[in-house]
């Protein structure tokens, strides 16, 4: 029985908690893509770099706060810097909308033109982010490191193995729950949220009933900026900031959006968790779990890893392909792109 509990704790520690955290981060990033898709009707390739940009601004603000001696005690100072990051990112996104996307919107260009323009924006942001902080890792996490430390867990449970929850992981999960709840409340209950859904559902009908399209578009960009920056900062606190890793998030994010059903906020959240859990489950080495569960003479020699971590985006890709082949509308019957 103890062996089984130990195995369960190892599994929770190395698979469940990391996947849950990663799923939250993906869900927030995917929500941004899906919002842009439903209101502006294109896949925003610049989402990954937007996350990196918001994070870079937040990091610079964090450093400034740290140099001033400001801190949040056990919580990371980055939380205090977050509003500034969101504000600057929102300004930049509104700027790109005004000078890049609006022209194609008034011309009613094909969606592929928007995608291409977003690719241009993505590369400009890519350069700007590296101009700001360089291409290397930056560490900006401070405060209490653990929410639940190994010693505390062992003392409580009396097991050999420990479940460790870092502050960044706890923060990710709590903050994501709050944000997703808030977003759904906004979309379902407020007048602006209803107007957004109406505009996404039928543009002409929405215009006819006096909804101001410019305002809807602006609010969408601001929400996207907030979601992207928070997702980026949480990802950075959890795994360390590195500009390239944000570019690599693009594929899992798109996969999550399409799996859930493009244009469906609930789909983006569910899709994010599906992608995150599959990725972590497939790339985790189960040697330690199996040594506890199996009898001693059957213990595995190898790592018992289905796929090495270098191929983790192959998981998102395979899921994406399966969805495209089997059910292109995704789980929640979104639009077919």
């Amino acid at each position: 029985m103890t062996d089984f509990l130990n195995a369960l704790v190892v599994f929770a520690n190395f698979v469940f908690v990391p996947a849950l955290t990663y799923g939250c981060q993906l869900a927030l990033g995917s929500l941004g893509v899906t919002m842009i898709y439903s209101v502006l009707r294109f896949s925003n390739f610049a989402q990954g770099e937007t996350m990196a940009f918001g994070t870079a601004i937040t990091i610079m603000m964090t450093w400034w706060l740290q140099s001033m001696g400001v801190s949040l005690g056990p919580l990371p100072t980055a939380l205090l810097a977050l509003p500034v990051g969101i504000f600057v990112t929102a300004l930049i996104l509104l700027f790109t909308d005004r000078y890049v996307y609006r022209y194609y919107r008034t011309k009613r260009s094909k969606s592929i033109t928007f995608v291409m323009a977003s690719l241009g924006v993505m590369f400009i942001m890519n350069g700007v982010v590296r101009l700001l902080l360089g291409p290397n890792d930056q560490n900006f996490a401070d405060g209490e490191r653990f929410f639940l430390s190994a010693d505390a867990f062992r003392a409580w449970s009396g097991l050999d193995e420990a479940l460790v929850i870092r502050t960044s992981q706890a923060l990710t999960i709590i903050l994501s729950l709050l944000l997703v709840g808030l977003l759904f409340w906004f979309l379902q209950r407020t007048k602006t949220g209803k107007a957004m859904r109406a505009y996404a559902d039928n543009e002409n009908l929405a215009l006819l009933s006096g909804i101001n399209p410019d305002r809807i578009v602006r609010i969408t960009w601001i929400i996207t900026a907030a979601l992207a920056t928070i997702a980026g900062v949480l990802y950075g606190l959890d795994k360390g900031y590195k500009p390239l890793s944000y570019y690599n998030l693009l594929l899992p994010i798109f996969a999550a959006v399409i799996v859930g059903g493009i244009g469906k906020p609930i789909g983006a959240v569910v899709g994010g968790f599906i992608i995150a859990f599959s990725e972590v489950i497939v790339t985790y080495a189960y040697k330690k779990v199996l040594t506890y569960v199996l009898p001693a003479d059957m213990a595995p020699d190898g790592l018992v890893q289905l796929l090495s971590t270098e191929y983790k985006f192959a998981v998102s890709f395979v899921i994406l392909v399966i969805v495209l082949l089997v059910k292109p509308t995704g789980i929640f019957k979104g639009k077919v792109l």
Binding site: S111, V121, F123, G127, L131, Y247, F317, L325, P328, L337
Partner: protein, 463 residues
């Protein structure tokens, strides 16, 4: 953009194209005179390869409006072909693990066919997805079980210099064709999945496949040596050292430089001749590459021009301009799209193989989306999408800007920050980041051209 409005101006590009290419030649000559001829030829060779890649992308985007964000992956496949075709086979590695790899390959093929069989058999019945999934998981486990020991054995064979299976030991020029076929195969797979759905899916799917292809090349050491790189690929042209000792080449250099050599005593004569030989052998080698690449480029360009003028080309453009109408006329839209996607990717694959040949090495770590996907896109858009000659011009011009932007960017930053003093941390940071300026500039160029001159330097010609 690809779809032109009906009130677009009529274009006749003959004069424009001639002027543009003359200016390009002038720029290259300027580099040759002011910097060095070897540099000018290096740039020219890369221009030719870039032009070929742009031509491939233009087939997809300009002819058919297909958006491929995975050019990097197709170019890397071409590069991998050079290893498979031209490197000598490593016999010890084949003995150690060749059979295991072959069996693993068979098991993989068996898995795919079994999965397809079960899929057909159970279509619409209960547990369909579950059973297909089980077959695939079992197949993957079996394949890994067969493959892993073989891979370990292969990678253990003299890891510092080989540690991989090697290739077939054939002349490297065959790799250009094989690279085309490999890229075409990958394109077929992606096209089958993503074409027929709407356009964004193809972009996302190609983004994914290109990342995966490059990840495979980086990590599967038994196939490509991974990040240890394969260097010393055989060449289709002579080596500099052999040339310097070849009598015909010596006399050629002597004859060309007879003016410089005349009136020198014998020791001076030998010294000057030696340095001349070193310089001219490197230029000669580069010229050989230029000749080969120009030949390939001209052949493919001519084929593209003919294709676009043929009934097939008209059908393709009709599909691009109005899919619904073309469909109503009985044209097989998805089929044509698949065809075009494969053809364009094959051209990119050929160019990728040529690039690895020129470099003389295959380095999976250097494939970045910036250099291999984005830059090619800028070439096509700047040059003029839908116009083959435009794509070639874009390839030449944008590559030249890309190469020269770094020194210019550095110089600019240096001049702008010179007032800050030597020790300034900000100045150092800005100088270090000058390389990112060119990314920003290129992104800006793309957006500006898309907005203000959507048909590029050489617009598509109305027929």
């Amino acid at each position: 953009m690809s779809q032109r409005p009906s009130n677009a101006p009529l274009h006749d590009n003959t004069v424009r194209a001639s002027i543009a290419f003359l200016v390009m030649a002038g720029l290259l000559i300027l580099i040759g005179v002011s910097q060095s001829w070897a540099l000018a030829l290096t740039i020219l060779n890369l221009c030719l390869i870039s032009a070929l890649m742009a031509l491939g992308v233009n087939i997809q985007w300009g002819f058919a409006g297909l958006f491929n964000v995975g050019i990097m992956g197709f170019a890397a496949l071409g590069g991998m072909a050079t290893i498979i075709v031209s490197m000598p086979p490593v016999k010890e590695a084949w003995q150690a693990g060749g059979m295991a790899v072959l069996f693993a390959l068979l098991s993989l093929l068996a898995t795919i066919s079994a999965a397809l069989f079960v899929h057909k058999l159970l279509k619409g019945k209960r547990f369909h997805g579950l059973l297909v999934g089980l077959v695939i998981v079992a197949g993957v486990v079996l394949t890994r079980y067969l493959l892993d020991p073989g891979v370990a054995a292969i990678e253990a064979v003299n890891p510092a210099s080989t540690g991989y299976l090697g290739g077939l030991g054939l002349p490297i020029v065959f790799a250009w064709i094989v690279g085309g076929f490999l890229a075409a195969g990958a394109a077929w797979l992606i096209g089958k999945i993503a074409l027929g759905l709407r356009s964004d899916y193809l972009a996302i799917a190609t983004l994914g496949i290109s990342e995966i292809l490059v990840a495979i090349m980086r990590n599967e050491d038994w196939l490509t040596r991974g990040v240890k790189n394969v260097t010393g690929l055989p060449r289709p042209v002579p080596y500099e050292l052999e040339l310097q000792q070849a009598p015909w080449f010596m006399s050629l250099v002597e004859r060309i430089n007879s003016g410089t050599l005349a009136g020198l005593n014998s020791t001076e004569h030998a010294m000057v001749l030696k340095s001349l030989l070193v310089d001219s052998s490197s230029i000669f080698v580069k010229l050989c590459y230029t000749g080969l690449f120009t030949l390939v480029l001209l052949i493919i360009l001519q084929l593209c021009v003919l294709a676009l003028d043929s009934p097939w080309g008209r059908m393709v453009r009709a599909i691009r301009d109005n899919e619904v109408a073309a469909d109503a006329m009985g044209k097989d839209v998805t089929g044509r799209h698949l065809q075009i996607f494969i053809l364009g990717s094959a051209v990119v694959g050929i160019a990728g193989a040529m690039l690895a040949t020129l470099d003389g090495q295959f380095t999976p770590g250097t494939y970045s989306p910036l250099r291999f996907t984005f830059l090619i896109w800028v070439m096509v858009i700047v040059g003029g999408s839908g116009n083959n000659l435009g794509a070639v011009l874009g390839g030449f011009l944008v590559w030249l800007i890309w190469v020269e932007a770094e020194p210019v960017g550095f110089w600019l930053m240096d001049a702008l920050t010179s007032g800050m003093g030597e020790g300034s941390g900000l100045r150092k940071h800005l100088l270090d980041s000058a390389q990112y300026m060119r990314v920003i500039i290129m992104g800006g160029v793309l957006l500006l051209v898309m907005r203000f001159s959507p048909w590029g330097l050489l617009p598509e010609q109305n027929r």
